[in-house]
């Protein structure tokens, strides 16, 4: 905007200069009626459009409305040349007599976005520009002011041959085309107004009303001309058209002032309501009131998990383009805090969104911290529930193992022992056979009990520490495993979690990976124990499916750590756990 500022002021100065130059030219044009009135109109309308246009242009450089207002002002200055004495000026003024109407129609149809939004509007504006420029050529080349009722007028320097009937025909055709274009524009303005929302109507109604009135009055004027009405009547209607037309820049300015006042009020009210602590829903309501959008929602940014959540800590996605919603990010000291999700119409006043965002940033940061806490609680609740379920399933599995394994063997042993005892005297050989069987069964029962105990808590971990326990796991694996452990003393819970990560990962390698080799690394880094188990197998493991990896993830996150699985198909699998360990 700072770059554009200088040329825009030059443009403003040029507008004032043109009006200043035209003033004496109008004043001394003896042939022209109502010269004082025209001087006033020139300053009020021409200068009004240029200066207000420049203000709008500076305020919203990306919106063409300002530029179109400036262009309307200059087009007006050109048409006013028709009220000056020098013949070339007079001729140019006559040729571009209605150019300002063309630019004004472009302005109205693209208000307030600055864009012609429909094909119909673009065709309409194109037709209007053609009519008010090239459409005047057939007229001007036959038009001799002296023979057309203006004896004292300057000469038409573009006159080829004076022809009253050709002039009248060209004039009539122009008038008919003009009426059609003006009524079409009027219809479009009505249609656009009716299609607009309440929020938009507040902004567009004054300008649209002036534009609509101008279209109807100009159409009336042309119809009166076609009907050959008395000159006085036509003149009165013409001056009447100047009222809505001249009001346009001032109505626009008044609209801006009103919006600014409303904005000041809205932000002021918001700041006042932020003065005391707000609950999450109250903060949302306060922002909804300030932006006058009851559908407003808040999304808080969680930098750690890089996601947006609602005030309850549940994950939310920001609306994409074409979703009918818009999101405005809010930052505090350069850090993203939240996003205000709202109706896209709210962006018609981007300054308001910025002001509201800035005023509420601190409160939103509080809301963000609250949402972050809730998200953590939610995550904890879920992982605790999963841990509980895993624990229960584990107990069921263990009970089943005990029942089916050691317990059955011991029951059979009891029966066999009883039988051996009964046979001892009568059939010592049989008793001996039975006792041999009993010995074997006992060994098997013992091995099963050992296996079970290892599942509960690996004894090697208690006796020899994590490094040796990991090496034992590696030697028990059915494939070559390279081990690199440098870890030292760590708390028991961390040690146990790290052990189970290696154990579960190696079990998965053996079961699913079809790998030739695996590598286990356990080390420390920056206050964490890092465990990494990788293989050269088929990959494709999905931690979302399969309770083993998810159970591990829960075990690790219960200690505040993170488990990552990288297992793209064909590139092997790497399971990485990082467990905080101060």
């Amino acid at each position: 905007m700072s770059l554009a500022r200088r040329p825009l002021w030059v443009l403003g100065a040029a507008g004032l200069l043109v009006a200043a130059i035209e003033t004496p030219l109008i004043a001394t044009a003896d042939f022209a009626p109502d010269r004082e009135l025209w001087i006033v109109l020139n300053w009020v309308i021409g200068v009004g459009f240029v200066l207000v246009g420049i203000y709008a242009w500076m305020r919203r450089p990306e919106n063409l409305i300002g530029a179109l207002m400036v262009a309307t002002g200059f087009a007006w200055f050109i048409s006013v040349l028709g009220h000056t004495e020098p013949a070339p000026f007079f001729t140019v003024g006559a040729l571009f007599d209605s150019l300002f109407v063309g630019v004004a129609i472009h302005l109205f149809l693209s208000f307030p976005s600055g864009r012609l939004e429909s094909k119909l509007d673009r065709w309409l504006v194109g037709g209007v520009y053609a009519a008010v420029t090239v459409g005047f050529i057939p007229y001007i080349v036959f038009w001799d002011p002296a023979t057309m009722g203006c004896a004292g007028c300057p000469d038409n320097v573009l006159l080829i041959t004076a022809d009253a009937s050709a002039t009248e025909t060209a004039g009539d055709v122009l008038a008919v085309v003009g009426v059609a274009l003006l009524l079409a524009t009027f219809a479009r303005l009505v249609g656009k107004w009716r299609a607009s929302t309440a929020l938009q109507r507040r902004a567009i109604t004054p300008v649209y009303a002036a534009g609509g009135a101008l279209m109807l009055l100009l159409a009336t004027l042309l119809v009166l001309e076609l009907a050959g009405s008395p000159h006085g009547v036509i003149e009165d209607v013409f001056y009447a058209t100047m009222i809505p037309f001249g009001l346009v820049p001032y109505l626009f300015l008044a609209g801006l002032a009103r919006a600014q006042m409303l904005r000041g009020g809205a932000v002021g009210e918001l700041v006042a309501s932020l003065g005391h602590t707000l609950a999450a829903s109250e903060l949302r309501d306060a922002l909804a009131r300030a932006l006058r959008d009851p559908s407003l929602e808040l999304a808080y940014w969680l930098p750690e998990s890089e996601q947006y959540v609602d005030s309850k800590g549940r994950r939310v996605e920001l609306p994409g383009s074409g979703s009918g919603r818009a999101a405005s990010p809010v930052s505090l000291e350069g850090r993203p805090v939240a996003a205000i999700v709202h109706d896209p119409l709210v962006l018609d006043d981007p300054d308001l969104v910025d002001a509201v965002g800035a005023a509420a940033a601190l409160a939103l940061e509080t809301g963000r911290l609250d949402a972050e806490l809730r998200a953590r609680v939610e995550e904890l609740r879920e992982s605790r529930a999963r841990l509980l379920a895993v624990g229960l399933a584990e107990r069921r599995r263990m009970e089943r193992n005990l029942h089916d394994g050691a317990q059955q063997r011991l029951v059979s042993l009891a029966l066999d022992l009883r039988l051996a005892r009964a046979s001892l005297r009568e059939d010592p050989e049989r008793a001996e056979d039975l006792l041999d069987g009993v010995g074997e069964e006992l060994s098997r029962a013992l091995e099963e009990l050992r296996e079970l105990a290892r599942g509960l808590h690996p004894a090697v971990l208690t006796d020899r520490g994590l490094e040796q326990a990991v090496k034992t796991l590696a030697t028990r694996a059915p494939l070559p495993v390279d081990v690199d452990t440098r870890i030292g003393e760590v708390p028991e819970a961390v040690e146990l979690a790290a052990y189970f990560v290696v154990s579960e990962a190696l079990t998965n390698v053996a079961k699913y990976a079809a790998a030739n080799r695996a590598t286990v690394r356990v080390g420390r880094d920056d206050g964490s124990v890092l465990v990494e188990v990788s293989d050269d197998g088929v990959g494709g493991a999905d931690p979302a499916h399969g309770s083993g990896l998810r159970g591990l993830g829960d075990r690790v996150s219960a200690l505040g750590g993170k488990l990552e699985v990288d297992s793209r198909t064909g590139t092997g699998t790497t399971v990485k756990a990082s467990i905080p360990c101060e």
Partner: protein, 127 residues
């Protein structure tokens, strides 16, 4: 009630653990029973009960398909074994007090912990 004065009582052993079935068969045969069949699950047990018409069925409470209570109810209920309803004895590796009086509610004669299985404990229930 078993009358072993004329013939050895016949027994069907229903348990999903082969090692227990083998030990139980050895013990019972040693103690004068004729083990006429074994079944590893509830469905097999129902079929064997119909086909073999044993005098006694030793029925494990915990089976892979139906549980022992359901099997007992069907065997001792009307229409399964005709007039020759066998005596069902529920067995389990648990102790008696864990099951309470559930055995008699499902038509069984009683409950014996597996480790205490013997002719004596069986006869105590059946007399």
């Amino acid at each position: 009630m078993v009358d072993n004065r004329f013939a050895m009582p016949t027994v069907l052993i229903v348990d999903d653990h082969p090692s227990f079935r083998a030990s139980a068969r050895r013990l019972l045969e040693e103690e004068g029973y004729e083990v006429v069949g074994e079944a590893a699950d509830g469905t097999d047990a129902l079929r064997a009960a119909r086909e073999l018409a044993p005098d006694i069925i030793l029925l494990d409470v915990r089976l892979p398909d139906l549980d022992g209570f359901a099997v007992s109810r069907r065997i001792t209920g009307p229409g399964c074994a005709g007039n020759l309803t066998p005596d069902v004895i529920l067995i389990s590796s648990r102790e008696v007090d864990e099951w309470g009086g559930a055995a008699t509610e499902v038509g069984a004669r009683g409950f014996i912990p597996k480790a205490k299985l013997s002719r004596r404990t069986m006869e105590e229930l059946l007399t």
